[in-house]
């Protein structure tokens, strides 16, 4: 029994998109990789709305489209403002797609299997209690009373980063740093999904809704069409939700599912799954002071690599790509003489030269919009009133501007309106 190793080149903590892509890339390069996951099965701790952008994953996995679990390509985008029983939407539809809809549990599982196929050792149901540190260098993981050593640890533990907290690298998350996402997956037949949402085979809808469905709390709702089910849920900024929300958050998902204008989309479906997860929101506020330490690289949600575009989040592809860059950094460190702190510093450069960092910088102002409650309640109301004035005339029809003026009057000043509009246009 002497063949069981007690030391690996790399230990990756967390088999989500970040961890599995790091493990895959490193194993492919010939490193000894151990990938440990807290969940009983890979993907059981992961959650997202439904959509993943293709390009970063294709850069990591050249055969991605051929073998990954892709449910539907997003060919239809709909953004809706909702107030009471009124919905005003804009929609884009085409025949091309650069993003797809999937179950994250399936995608995470696929990614973990890819890592195993390249030779990484995957262990599930392993909860790392803490990192081992010797003379300031991270040297392994501690699980119960057992220790495994490594040259480099890749932290891909996700948004709830207990290990980084215990290592003193970050302070515990505050409600203002994160949003809460909750969702239900509703089972429908494949042809029902296509019929209900007006889709052809393999086509998908990404639908974002903003308005009073979040009970006045900044955030939004989403609906994504899977192959033979629909994901429906919402995201609320946590500190605002704590202030505003007076009923359990799952009631909001239920309200959404039972909304008079929305329930027909889910008619006859059975709820398969309910889930909730924290989403890094103020990523600049929660980022660790550095992405790399002596013997440790931080990836994915744990590092705050998640982009809020205002109308949608990009987390999975950012996480996966940061894992990939961590793997590249390890390889470069080895080829420069070994994984010393100095050599691992290349990770910082790789991140800062990548689309991850450019995108996070470009959209860093979006978070400030989340403080503006008018965007989430007042403007959806005004837009729907405008639509009412326009489309439900008593006898005489109004001009568009008249309809808008009538809806605005007494609700918001032109000054505030233009200021808010400018803010949105500038940030998003």
């Amino acid at each position: 029994m002497g063949t069981v190793p007690t030391k690996f080149d790399i230990i990756v903590v967390g088999a989500g998109p970040a961890g599995s892509s790091a493990a895959y890339t490193l194993a492919k390069k010939g490193f000894d990789v151990l990938l440990v996951e807290r969940g009983r099965v890979v993907g059981s701790k992961n959650m997202f709305g439904g959509r993943v952008y293709l390009k970063p994953l294709k850069d990591i996995y050249p055969d991605f489209e051929k073998s990954a679990p892709i449910h539907r390509w997003v060919t239809k985008e709909r953004i809706s403002l909702i107030h009471n029983n009124d919905i005003t939407s804009i929609e884009f539809e085409g025949k091309e797609a650069t993003s797809f809809i999937t179950y994250l549990s399936q995608l995470a599982n696929w990614m973990a299997i890819k890592a195993e196929e390249e030779g990484a050792i995957l262990l599930t149901e392993v909860t790392v209690d803490r990192f081992e540190v010797e003379d300031g260098r991270f040297t392994g993981i501690r699980v119960g009373d057992e220790t495994l050593k490594s040259e480099v640890i890749i932290d891909a533990e996700g948004a709830n980063r207990l290990l980084l907290e215990r290592s003193g690298i970050v302070a515990p998350l505050k409600p203002k740093h994160v949003a809460l996402g909750v969702k239900e997956v509703i089972k429908l037949a494949k042809d029902e999904v296509e019929k209900h949402f007006g889709l052809d085979e393999n086509e998908g809808l990404a639908w974002i809704l903003m308005g009073d469905i979040t009970g006045g709390t900044p955030g939004g709702a989403f609906i994504y069409t899977n192959k033979d089910s629909v994901s429906v849920g919402l995201v609320v900024i946590l500190d605002e939700a704590i202030e505003n929300i007076d009923k359990h958050i799952y009631n909001y998902v239920e309200d959404l599912r039972l909304h008079p204008l929305l329930k027909r989309y889910f008619g006859g479906g059975r709820i398969m799954e309910y889930s909730a997860h924290l989403i890094p929101e103020d990523v600049w506020g929660m980022m660790p002071p550095q992405y790399y330490y002596d013997g440790l690289l931080i990836t994915g949600d744990a590092a705050g690599f998640l982009l809020n575009l205002g109308y949608t989040y990009r987390g999975v592809d950012f996480a996966a790509y940061s894992g990939y860059l961590a793997a590249e950094a390890v390889e470069q460190a080895y080829s420069s003489g070994g994984p010393s702190k100095e050599n691992l510093a290349v990770y910082k450069k790789l991140i800062e030269d990548s689309f991850i960092y450019r995108q996070l910088r470009k959209f860093r102002g979006v978070h400030s919009l989340m403080k503006n409650k008018r965007l989430f309640t007042l403007y959806p109301l005004i837009m729907n009133l405008t639509a009412r004035n326009l489309f439900l005339p008593e006898d005489e029809s109004l001009k568009v501007l008249e309809a808008f003026k009538k809806a605005r009057k007494g609700r918001v000043s032109w000054f505030t309106l233009l200021k808010d509009l400018f803010m949105v246009v500038r940030q998003v």
Binding site: V4, P5, R40, L122, V126, G144, L148
Partner: protein, 273 residues
């Protein structure tokens, strides 16, 4: 002499999350994760305790679809030395007779064993047949409801305490023999990281199909299974009344409760009205 132990484990749907299709009477297993039958984990614990104390070798055996490798990895993670998965479409649809026959033949193929240990029953069918049937096929003695196994090395006997409702019987079991461990009589140990790693790296699991066992197709799987589930009936929903006694006095409360139970015909008092 170190003990050579075979322990049987079953890969079962986690019945806490299984529901029943009222139309067909079958289990809705879709999306329900499977686990090692919890009562079998206590059998594994018993085997490992013997190994810890007297030395030996523990082989876990399971008849199941290929995914059950995860179950075998789990018990190897606890400290079991090796696993054998008996897996073949030919074994599918087996009742307890065909299952026990297949398991017995696999244990015969392992050959050199002193003791077979099984769990009390399974959480998905609760027949408690398999232990007795396997022992019968192997023509070895067996004891159910066993706890606190002790090996009497010089006589090659197993001292077994058998828990009954109101007594404990102590037996000396001639080996090779089979014991089925009383449910809830112990707590299975946790999986260790090193053993888990061993399960993954050394892969000490063999898979036997009917190519290896070469059993008569009429004795295995659906064809070897005389059991027929004739019908599944659902318990009618019993309307329940709920009354709460709010006053504090326990004597009055007891009297109140008995009166109510008598009134509902749920309790008869001898000599009472």
């Amino acid at each position: 002499m170190p003990l050579k132990i075979v322990v049987g484990i079953k890969w079962v749907p986690n019945t806490t999350s299984v529901s029943i299709d009222e139309k067909t009477g079958t289990l809705i297993r879709e999306g329900v994760p499977s686990v090692v039958n919890p009562h079998d984990l206590i059998a594994v614990e018993a085997a490992l305790k013997l190994k810890d104390r007297y030395g030996g070798h523990v082989t876990a055996i399971s008849m199941a679809p290929p995914q059950a490798i995860l179950g075998l990895e789990h018990v190897i993670g606890m400290g079991v030395d090796e696993g054998i998965l008996i897996s073949d479409r030919a074994f599918a649809g087996a009742d307890t007779l065909a299952t026990s026959y297949t398991l017995a033949k696999a244990i015969e193929k392992i050959g050199d064993y002193d003791l077979v240990i099984m769990g009390h029953e399974t959480i998905d069918s609760s027949t408690a047949h398999i232990g007795a049937q396997v022992a019968s096929w192997l023509d070895i003695p067996y004891i159910y409801y066993a706890v606190n196994l002790e090996y009497i090395e010089d006589k090659h006997l197993l001292r077994v305490r058998r828990i009954l409702e109101d007594s404990i019987e102590i037996y000396n079991l001639r080996l090779p023999g089979l014991v089925s461990i009383a449910m809830h009589s112990d707590v299975p140990r946790r999986v260790s990281l090193t053993n888990k790693l061993r399960a993954r790296i050394e892969k000490p699991i063999r898979v036997w199909s009917n190519k290896e066992l070469d059993l008569d197709p009429n004795c295995i799987g659906l064809r070897g299974s005389p059991t027929v589930v004739a019908k599944v009936e659902f318990m009618p929903k019993v309307p329940r009344k709920q009354e709460v006694y709010k006053d504090g006095d326990p004597k009055e409360a007891a009297k109140w409760l008995v009166e109510r139970l008598v009134k509902e015909g749920l309790l008869k008092i001898p000599g009472g009205e």
